[in-house]
Amino acid sequence: MNSSTVPPEPMGLELNHKTILGLGRYQALDIDGMQAETLAGLLRQMLRLRRTEEAILHEYHPADEIRCPVHFCIGQEAMPAALSLLVEAEDYLFSHHRTHGYYFAKGAPMREFFAEIYGRVTGANQGRAGSMDISHEASRFYGGAILSGSIGIAVGAAYALQHRHSRQISIAGFGEGATEEGAFWEAVNYAGLRRLPILFLCENNRYSVYSDQTKRQASDNICERVATFGVRARRIFGNDAALTHRTLQLEMEAMREGGGPALVEAYTYRWNSHVGPEDDSDNEYRTVEEIAFWRQNCPIRLLEEKLTAAGRFDSVRRENLESEIAAEIAENFKFAKSSPFPHIDDWRTANWNPASPLADRLLETLTESEFDQYQAEAKLAPY
C-alpha cells in the first residue's frame, strides 16, 4: 500500500485542532475517480444518521420516554458513513459510548435501535443496554461505555481472526480521550507486535466532555505516538467523507491482505453537548468561532455541495432522500413506542447461560471426589 495515494494533510497543513481552524471553508474535498454509488451512499448514510439523531434529540425531553444517557454524534457523520460502505458483515465492530453512528455503520437494524433506547423488549438488547451499551450480535456490533474498554476486546477478535487466517478484520471506534487510558496502549503494543488485523478508528473531536485534548495530553500527536508501536497511523480531516472513504478503503484492503494493524485519526467535531440534548456551553470550554468553523464545514454540506456543483446531486434527489429517511424514522419510532416493556423473571439466568452443549457432548461427569487428608502439605519450590 502506497501511503502517498492518500494525501494525509490537506493543503500541506500539519493537521491538528489548532491548525485546522485556520482552514476557513474546507476546499480540498475531492470526488474525482469515486464511483457514483459510493458518493450517493456516503451522502445517504450521513443524512440518515443526522436525521435520526435530530429526531431523537427533539423527542428526548419533551416525550421523556427515552430514559438513558444519549451521546449524540451530529457533526461526526463522515466516519460512520464511510465505514458503512466498506465494512463486511463478518467483520467485527466495537464502539465506545457514542455508539449510534457505529451501530448504523455495521448495518444493524434501526427498529431494534429505537426499541432499545426506548427500553423495550423488542430492542437489540431487550432494553437492558440502552444507547451507551447497545450491541447487536447478529451484526457483530458491540458498544460499551467504559473508555477504551472495548478496544482490547476488539484486539481479541482480531487475534481470533488472524489465528484462523480469515480475511475479516476487527474495528474499534473511539475518541481521542480514550487514548489516555493505559488499556489503549496495551492494545496498540500488542496489535503492533502480532500485526493483528485491527483497525483503530479515532475520531478526534478535541474534547473529552469539556476538557481540551492538550489539557490531557502533551500534544495533539496521537498518530505519531501510535506509529512508534509498529501500527500504521495517519490523520485526516474527518469531515471530508470522500477522503475518509478513500483512507478507510486503502487501510481495510491492505489489512485483509495481511498488512497488519492501522490507526486512522479523523479530526472532527460534535455539535451538541457531550451528553444529552441540553446545551453544555455554559461550561465555557469552546469558542463561538470554533463552533462556527465546524458547522460551516458540516460533513454533509461539504459533500452535498461538491456533488451538486458536479451535477451529481440536486434538490429533487435531496427531497426524495429526505422523505424516504423521514418515513423510515417515523415508522421505527412508532414501532419502538408501541413495543412492550421488558420484564425479567429470573435475574440469575439473565446473567448466566446455563447451557453447556459442548461440555455435554465432550465430557462425562464426575460426581465423587476423593482426598487423602494425611498427605503432608506442600513442599514447594520457593517462589
Partner: protein
C-alpha cells in the same frame, strides 16, 4: 455417568491441571492458552509444560506484561469463537484486569440479553508461604464471587481441579479458576478420561454429626486433618468442600448444618466481607435458631500478608485453630 469404570491414577494437582489443558486442547482446536511464560519448559509451575511443543505457538502464547489486555483479548477471541484459557502466575497480577472482568466480562451475557456468550476461563494462582509478601499472595476470591455473570471455582483436589477446569473450558459462562499454590504437589486419584465436575455441587469430604466445617480451597486438607485429630477425642466433624463458590451449593451446606447444628467456615481469604460471611449468613437465614452453637469463621486476619516466616506462621490458620474452635463449639 460416574466414570467408575475408567482408569484412575494418582496425579498431583499441578499435573492434573496440565492434563486438563492438554486434553481440552486435543478435544477442541478452539481452545487456546494465553499467559506470561506459558510456552517455556518450566511452564507456569509445570501446569503448561509441554503444551507449546504439542500444539504450537499459535495456540499457546506468551503474552506481554499487559494483564488488562490479556483478559480483554481472551474476551474478543471468545466472541469470535475461540475458548481461551488465561493464566495469571499470581492472583495479584490479575488486579490490573479487574476493569475487563467487572465492567465487561461479567456483564456481557446479561447486557446482550443472552445473545452473546464469552466462554473465557481465567486461571489465577494464589501464592502462600516462602515470604511471598503482600503483593504475591492475595486471594480476592470473594470479590469474584460477588460479581454476577461469573462462575468461580476453587478446587482443593487434583481430581476436582481437572474436572472443574474442563467444565470451565467447555461451558458458555465465563469462569475464574482459583488455584492454591500450596496444593500443587498434592495428589489424588484422577481419572484418565476427559470429564467434568459440575459447578455448584459441593462434596462431603468426611461425614460426621457433631459439627460441620465448610472448608474452602487449601483449607480443605487442613480441615480434614483437624477433623482427624478431633475424632480422636470422639468429636465427629463433617467436612463440606463447596468446590465452587459461585454458584455456591447452599443446599448441601445447609443440609449438613441442619444435621450437625454447628457450623465453622474456614476460608483462605480475609475474615471480613469474605466468602465465610456469605456462608454463615446463608445458614443463619435458612436455619436461624436451629443451631446449637454460634457459628464461627476461621479465616486470615484482616491484614495484608507479612513476609517474615514467623509472621506467616501467625498469619495462616492451621488445624489447631480449627480444632480449638470446634472444641469450643461442642463445649468440650
Amino acid at each position: 455417568m460416574h466414570l467408575t469404570e475408567s482408569v484412575h491414577r494418582p496425579l498431583s494437582y499441578g499435573k492434573a491441571i496440565n492434563e486438563a489443558l492438554r486434553q481440552s486442547m486435543e478435544l477442541c482446536e478452539d481452545v487456546i492458552v494465553l499467559g506470561q511464560l506459558v510456552d517455556y519448559k518450566s511452564g507456569v509451575f509445570g501446569t503448561t509444560t509441554g503444551l507449546a511443543d504439542r500444539f504450537g505457538p499459535g495456540r499457546v502464547q506468551d503474552f506481554p506484561n499487559s494483564e488488562n489486555l490479556m483478559t480483554a483479548t481472551a474476551m474478543g477471541a471468545a466472541l469470535a469463537g475461540l475458548r481461551p484459557v488465561v493464566v495469571h502466575q499470581r492472583f495479584d497480577f490479575m488486579l490490573y484486569s479487574l476493569d475487563a472482568i467487572a465492567n465487561w466480562l461479567g456483564l456481557w451475557y446479561f447486557k446482550s440479553a443472552g445473545k452473546s456468550d464469552m466462554p473465557v476461563t481465567i486461571r489465577a494462582i494464589v501464592g502462600k508461604g516462602w515470604g511471598q509478601g503482600p503483593q504475591h499472595s492475595k486471594s480476592l476470591h470473594a470479590w469474584l464471587a460477588h460479581l454476577p455473570g461469573l462462575r468461580v471455582a476453587i478446587p482443593a483436589t487434583a481430581d476436582d481441579a481437572k474436572g472443574l477446569l474442563m467444565d470451565s473450558v467447555f461451558s458458555q459462562t465465563p469462569a475464574v479458576f482459583i488455584e492454591g499454590r500450596s496444593l500443587f504437589p498434592m495428589t489424588t486419584n484422577v481419572p484418565e478420561k476427559p470429564y467434568r465436575v459440575r459447578f455448584g455441587q459441593a462434596t462431603i469430604r468426611r461425614t460426621g454429626c457433631d459439627a460441620t466445617i465448610v472448608a474452602i480451597g487449601n483449607m480443605v486438607p487442613i480441615a480434614l486433618r483437624a477433623a482427624a485429630a478431633l475424632e480422636r477425642d470422639g468429636i465427629q466433624v463433617e467436612v463440606v468442600d463447596p468446590r465452587t463458590i459461585s454458584p455456591l451449593d447452599t443446599a448441601t451446606i445447609c443440609a449438613s448444618v441442619a444435621k450437625t447444628r454447628r457450623l465453622l467456615v474456614t476460608d483462605p481469604g480475609w475474615h471480613s466481607f469474605g466468602v465465610a460471611a456469605e456462608i454463615v449468613a446463608t445458614v443463619a437465614e435458612e436455619l436461624g435458631g436451629e443451631l446449637k452453637a454460634k457459628p464461627v469463621r476461621v479465616c486470615l486476619p484482616d491484614s495484608h500478608t507479612p513476609m517474615s516466616a514467623t509472621l506467616e506462621e501467625q498469619y495462616y490458620p492451621e488445624e489447631t485453630a480449627l480444632e480449638t474452635a470446634v472444641r469450643r463449639m461442642v463445649r468440650l
